[in-house]
């Protein structure tokens, strides 16, 4: 006969399990602890910004890169960009060449003779404002975040300059501001958006290759752009939830 354990009966076990589970549930409801694990999605009727870039329309003038630097006090010396333009050249032998001298601001010199070019096109680049952004997930202090309307922003007063996010961004869209030592990136000109103005890069684009809009509004230009074109996102295999849609995106672009 099995000896019954008086100290630890089945009833006792269920009782204790219940108390612990209840306690954990109660603790998780306590409001001061809530912020740290807030995964609240904004309401579905709120604005949720997306961006469209039309490679067929881009002529590589880099007005966007210039305007972005002027509007947002991005350092003028090379290698610091929130927005830039790359020229892709695919030769007849299948070689892919990418050039972006000073983000396109210095103009392009084509090293490949025209007879050897299979195809060539410009790709304007900027922050993808991902909905599952890798950069905001790695921030140890909560200094970068996705705003309620889907714009990835930085809080320069809270950033400690650890550079995790710079490495986490698969699109190379972040840099450390040399004067402040904090990270900086495209804000989709949040200060302009909120006052009803277009971002500076979109305002100055001479061919209308750039647009943005509310992805949740089926009547917005942005949704129409996605519907009417064969759009693609950069590095979809990384599951970043990129909200930057390119028209006529070639396989070679990365």
């Amino acid at each position: 006969m099995v000896k019954e354990n008086k100290d630890f009966s089945r009833r006792e076990f269920f009782k204790k399990t219940g108390v612990i589970a209840g306690g954990v549930l109660f603790a998780s409801l306590l409001s001061p602890l809530k912020a740290a694990q807030s995964t609240e999605k904004s309401k579905s009727d709120d604005t949720w910004y997306g961006i469209g870039l039309d490679i067929e329309k881009c002529i590589g003038c880099a007005s966007c890169a210039r305007a972005c630097k002027a509007e947002n006090d991005v350092p003028k010396e090379p290698f610091f960009f929130r927005s830039w333009v790359e020229q892709y050249t695919i030769t007849n032998s299948g070689e892919v060449k990418v050039q972006s001298p000073n983000g396109g601001i210095d103009g392009y010199k084509q090293p490949v003779p025209e007879s050897e070019i299979f195809k060539t096109f410009f790709v304007p680049k900027m922050c993808n404002h991902c909905s599952k952004s890798p950069c905001t997930q790695v921030c140890p202090v909560g200094a970068t975040f996705v705003s309620p309307d889907g714009v990835v922003l930085v809080d320069p007063n809270y950033c400690v300059g650890c550079r995790y996010c710079v490495q986490a961004c698969p699109y190379g869209c972040r840099y450390i501001k040399p004067d402040l030592g904090t990270v900086d990136k495209c804000t989709l000109c949040y200060h302009r958006l909120k006052k009803g103005m277009d971002p500076a890069c979109m305002m100055v684009c001479p061919t209308g290759a750039r647009l943005y809009g509310n992805l949740r509004d089926p009547k917005s230009e942005m949704v129409k752009f996605i519907k009417n074109h064969t759009v693609g996102a950069l590095k979809p295999n990384l599951n970043t939830g990129s909200k930057l849609y390119y028209n006529a995106l070639s396989q070679e672009v990365h």
Partner: protein, 148 residues
């Protein structure tokens, strides 16, 4: 309850209390308002100064004749500030010195230098051959880029 468990519980309670006190004083006021960040950062991002001004409310109110020329040309979809740079200083204090007025050939070449990647609808020239001694604007009116 064994005495060592009791002591451990007391130690945990002290740690948790200290953590909560420290958290109370170190956490910024608006942290967690919308998510795991300072809610006030949204407003701070919003309050940055605007440099590229609304063209219809500013440029065109004074330079209406030039705007009319532009509107009748192939350059009609181009914002003034695409070529003239941000207008915020010029709007506050209209001087010839605080707005960009480009003359260089390379400036026009940003859009119009020959590049096979550019759409064919954009008129393109070989910068090294097309009247290379002259400024573009000595023959073309930039606001309506037919010949003068």
């Amino acid at each position: 309850m064994p005495v060592q468990v009791k002591r451990l519980l007391i130690a945990f309670a002290v740690f948790i209390a200290l953590f909560l006190v420290a958290r109370h004083f170190l956490r910024p006021a608006t942290f967690g308002e919308y998510g795991h960040y300072r809610g006030a950062a949204l407003k701070e991002n919003e309050d940055r100064p605007i440099k590229y001004v609304n063209m219809n409310e500013t440029c065109i109110t004074c330079h209406d004749s030039i705007a009319a020329v532009r509107d009748s040309s192939v350059h009609k979809s181009i914002n003034c500030q695409t070529c003239h740079g941000p207008g915020y200083k010029h709007v506050d204090d209209p001087q010839k010195t605080n707005i960009v007025k480009e003359h260089a050939r390379e400036f026009c070449g940003r859009c119009h230098s020959k590049n096979p990647a550019r759409a064919k609808v954009i008129k393109q020239i070989d910068m090294n051959e097309h009247n290379k001694e002259d400024e573009c604007i000595s023959c073309h009116n930039s606001h309506n880029p037919v010949l003068w």
